[in-house]
Symmetry: C2
Subunit: 476 residues, 2 copies
């Protein structure tokens, strides 16, 4: 309902104040012509003034032609009184720029609408609305809905061979939330080390939490615990089952070295970021460090952003027993940040077996899509001047381009043609020469036709670039 | 699907390793008798081993009586092989204590299931699943879904007389999240001051964010900006339209003093916490400081926890233009923590007019409930030995008990009888004598019958207390 604030101190009577404010709003278009006005009784109650005051103001507005009344229907703002260009003038309109438009995006992994289980999800949400009436309105435990933690515990056992009590699971809203919790649990005085390359937001989130985060190079067998960066760090944040974007899994030898170093106290804490372990296309499942560890110094984290959709905003930690009490003290006061609806729906999705079927269907879909895209690549002109790398690693692969131009140059040329792209170098703290020219293709939302178009464009640009650089050499 | 990790180094062949692991799980009950086992093909693919290996392991399990096969249906774990007491032994069971059970709770404002719009909410969620397919899977702006921010902007205009661009609104997951954002925006080096009494979690959340938070007494006309605490503080966090639990609204004079002090630069920042402004039963709507301010140094905050349900976990800030860029820098990297489903559903709920109707219905429902409860009180024996205070203030009132016993004593005696209670003193930093004996009745989920029972009990306890204390005096 319309709300007006009156100035008690003013000598103008209330009904005049109300008349003036409504007149101004009708003139400015904030109240549009034809809009129904509140009934006198409801309006008086809402504004905390007498019905007589509203009556007096309405009479004045009618007599001056701003308002008309229809018998048994109520009061309406007169049409063609307000300035049309000011329509809705009372509420400022958003001036946010629309996000940049690219015709083809090679850099983002978007879930194609067909790959999200809308029908099942809608059904489960409706069931939750019906079946969880009471629970939905009760306070949520700080570590999340028990049924969701139980479902995740069962899932971790089935899919990752992990034996985790639901009590050890903490539900959070996205990975950034979890980084914040980790810093609360382990302290700001520690030095954190994260993989390089990696999602840059891992480093930036730690930095935003006010802790020092250094980079540890990912080698062919994973992170080397004898590297100087690890020696400097108290907390090592790694993805031993699948580094992004290289797809490297830590070798059994390296994994053993890590658990041994934990046992000897040479590494204080491990954050095992297992976010992409589900979309494996080949090879054996890699056991988790959390399971192998005997010291209680591994925190396991995972998210449903990749396996369901980023917009679901549910992630979780498995907190070792050693940190359970600290977690209660540091985290419980804030409460669980995830809405109950979402938690109960996800719990039903997992425990009803839908999640496992969803992952298995997705794995097939993405494998077929990847094969189609690779066919497109191998039959393109670019195939002769480049090579595919890491095609088994999650929802992306690299095209190693044979060019002497910088990644930034190619990116900018592609952008001019409406193609958004990223390179391995974007995920490195200090881009190295030997890792240049790796175009990252995040393909989950990419059509073979768009990919073909992007490849033709790339081929043309690289030719041009080579031509230009040759000419430059002649000229110089 | 079942997941097993194999040890490459072991000399035992893979099929024996698989056989042993499955046998152990069937014996322990981790795989229950009658459970269907994965198909050989799918299992081999899942474990990254050959189909022949799975076949060999299954043959062995069948020959030893752990597994049976049904033609064209598949493989099943034998019944009555595993220990029944170990059923589900692979997944640790939650040992969390069930929350304490009280038969009557006077201390919590629970939304009664009848007061949550389940039918509309379920309908809107289904519509969102159908109508927002593409949007639901796209990345969410860090400040929240545009349609939700537009809906809130319209709502603030209609209900609070505020003119706020959707670009100035930041969607967050609950109040604690917002406190964290505020500290990021205004800095950790500032001294924060919050009202006393107030929700203690306001003080504790600031403390957890690592900033100093001092207390400012709430007087009859609201917070006095000339008080020493305000002079010490850089940031003043107040609820000028409705302090909790006193229900005090700042007087027009005090409000003018605050905006004047802002203009003169005597107060650096105001956080206007407007969380309970909607459930007003009488009086005029109080204008917001955000609207009255001309300096751009008021941050407005509100939540849907009170007006819809705490489990919805959506709150928002209105960020003044002066902080817009800082907000983008400090907050955008983490992304919006609220799931898209929830945001789109709430946007539809507000813009479809359901929210306004919901509030209006709730206001009537709670007013009637409060009147019924007050009737129960006035016809009880306790009415003579106590007084009602602040009955117009939100979803609670106080019973001022005539007793010389401490609040803690009464609380503990009530708890022994299964009644959970809280007192005004629980919301004060340093409980004062003159504010003792105010039993807080949070009545939203309270039935007249339960209330009547609690009043009878209270009457009995107070008599006993008086009797005991008199006898003590005689004895001493």
């Amino acid at each position: 309902m319309l709300t007006y604030i009156f100035e008690k101190s003013k000598k103008t009577p209330l009904y005049i104040q109300l008349y003036e404010k409504m007149r101004d709003d009708i003139l400015s278009g904030a109240i549009a012509g034809g809009d129904k006005l509140p009934s006198k009784r409801a309006f008086a109650e809402h504004l905390g003034i007498s019905k007589v005051t509203v009556e007096a103001a309405y009479s004045l507005l009618i007599s001056e032609g701003y308002v008309y009344s229809l018998e048994k229907r109520g009061y309406y703002a007169e049409k063609d009184v307000g300035l049309p260009e000011n329509r809705g003038g009372g509420v400022p309109v958003s001036k946010e720029a629309e996000s940049e438009k690219y015709s083809i995006d090679l850099s983002s992994n978007i879930v194609p609408p067909g790959q999200f289980p809308f029908t099942v999800w809608a059904k489960l949400m409706r069931n939750v609305c019906l079946d969880y009436r009471d629970e939905l309105l009760l306070p949520m435990p700080y570590n999340g809905a028990k049924c969701l933690r139980e479902a995740i515990s069962g899932y971790l056992y089935e899919q990752r061979g992990m034996s985790v009590s639901p009590d050890r699971i903490l539900i959070g809203s996205g990975s950034e939330y979890l980084y914040g919790v980790i810093v609360k649990l382990l302290g700001k005085d520690k030095v954190y080390a994260a993989e390089d390359p990696a999602y840059r937001r891992i480093h930036s989130s730690y930095a935003h939490s006010g802790v020092r985060c250094i980079s540890v190079p990912v080698e062919k067998e994973g992170v080397d615990i004898k590297s100087p960066a690890v020696k400097k760090a108290n907390v090592l944040h790694i993805s031993p089952s699948h580094n992004f974007p290289t797809g490297i899994a830590a070798s059994p030898k390296r994994r053993r070295e890590i658990t041994d170093a934990l046992s000897r106290g040479e590494i204080e804490w491990i954050i095992e970021d297992d976010f992409d372990s589900e979309l494996r296309f080949s090879g054996k499942p890699v056991p988790t460090l959390y399971s192998a560890d005997r010291t209680g110094r591994v925190i396991y984290m995972n998210t449903f952003s990749k396996t369901i959709a980023p917009s679901i905003k549910i992630s979780y930690l498995v907190i070792p027993e050693t940190l359970a009490e600290k977690c209660r003290v540091e985290v419980s006061h804030a409460g669980c940040p995830v809405p109950s609806f979402e938690q109960y729906t996800l719990a039903e999705f997992i425990s009803g077996g839908y999640f496992e079927r969803h992952i298995s269907r997705n794995r097939k879909y993405y494998r077929t899509l990847r094969d189609r895209l690779l066919e497109v690549y191998y039959s393109s002109a670019l195939a002769e001047k480049s090579a595919i790398e890491e095609a088994d690693a999650g929802l992306h692969f690299f095209i190693n381009l044979k060019t002497d131009k910088s990644d930034e140059e190619i990116k900018s040329l592609l952008a001019d043609e409406g193609v958004k792209s990223s390179f391995l170098s974007d995920y490195l703290s200090k881009p190295k020469k030997e890792s240049a020219h790796r175009l990252l293709v995040n393909y989950s939302g990419l059509s073979p036709a768009d990919f073909s178009q992007a490849l033709t464009l790339l081929d043309r640009l690289i030719k041009q670039l080579t031509y230009t650089s040759k000419r430059c050499k002649i000229n110089s």
